[in-house]
Symmetry: C2
Subunit: 259 residues, 2 copies
Amino acid sequence: MKRIMLVVSYDGTAYAGWQFQPGQPTIEGELNKALSGLTREDIHVVGASRTDAGVHAEGNVCIFDTESRIPAEKFCYALNTHLPEDIVVQNSEEVPNWFHPRKCRCIKTYEYKIWNADHVRPFNRKYTNFVYHDLDIDKMRAGAAYLVGEHDFTGYCSIHTTVPDHVRTILAADVIKEGDLITIRVTGNGFLYNMVRIIAGTLIQVGDGTKSPEDVKKALDACDRSLAGPTAPAMGLTLVRIDYPAKNRAEYDKDDIKE
Amino acid sequence: MKRIMLVVSYDGTAYAGWQFQPGQPTIEGELNKALSGLTREDIHVVGASRTDAGVHAEGNVCIFDTESRIPAEKFCYALNTHLPEDIVVQNSEEVPNWFHPRKCRCIKTYEYKIWNADHVRPFNRKYTNFVYHDLDIDKMRAGAAYLVGEHDFTGYCSIHTTVPDHVRTILAADVIKEGDLITIRVTGNGFLYNMVRIIAGTLIQVGDGTKSPEDVKKALDACDRSLAGPTAPAMGLTLVRIDYPAKNRAEYDKDDIKE
């Protein structure tokens, strides 16, 4: 029995999200089906991030256990021939059997992409949120800067969240402009439900003048969801990568991995 | 009566090309339908470039004549509400009634995009040609350099071409690498049938070692299509822009515009 980790990219447009739901197209469902077909085992992957309907990923992470004799690093090639064209496994490798993608400490990077022009661009219409109001990048950057550090992000999570602890650390929050494309890039040690999309919705309002950069801090300090902006549409959000910085089990054990 | 010029972007994936064909989805057909619906006139656009099935455009150009009282620069906004989401008009403006998008001298820029990695990237799978062999960019650049200038491009056009004169001038031919994305960018005063796709197919063979950079020159000098590489797939090709450098009718008249 070996444990294999996959790095999975997907265009989330056609899916009801990562998490398996009977009768719905999901990333997890497609991976389970392709892996079970390939290995002739009953495989259920465990994912790092249960992305929402319509959200994309450059590199979500999941694991599964198998008796298969396919070499771990060849799994991605074999698997991609069994997957639909909008899901592509970018890497596969063996990991220790204590490794768990959600219980092990990690750093996640998300990008929220905005196409800020007079007209939609057909090529990224499914991967960007189209905003035609002029956005002030300097103000968006000033607003984003208030989010960096350890904060209670109650003001920036869905009221439907079920997690009790809302304290998270954002390590970096950048606003990058390349031509008409604006990318909000956020890196942190964990994100609450809808957190990046609410950050994006708030920074768009800062950019178009509806809010001031200081309003970003006000919603944060007040822990008041109603002071932040709307939840920006899912199509603009991409989970870019997940890094597991600890190098061995002893380091992870400090984080109390539950096996 | 006024003449309006449109700059049209489209994802060509779902279309049988620019040119109207009864019973087939075409860019020209969709534009005629949307414009006729909007103006209540029977509009037939005249396009600058009849792109092939599956080829994309950032900025193809077309004109039409109308009695409509919609201001020329507002046409794009009105029109985009009538068009499918994979065709977006980026600009509309009035042009003199002698202006003709094919008969007036122009400079066209095409990009052929290659995703050169171990695995497909879901987000650009429809806009790039996936090549997993390592491509040598320096060799591709050396090969591309032979194409610049005025040449008889018989070796680089489809044997099905119907145009008698195969002399064209390529003003620039660059090979740009950004991460795993390789872009062949070609600018010229005119292109023969399949010319950019044959250039791309040849440069890919130079990149993977099947051909040498000097083989690019050999196919050119010999005017022999069989010495060039295969026609690369349509999905990688985008017509980026068309520029009309002359500023007035007198300048165009030198080019013998036929009205």
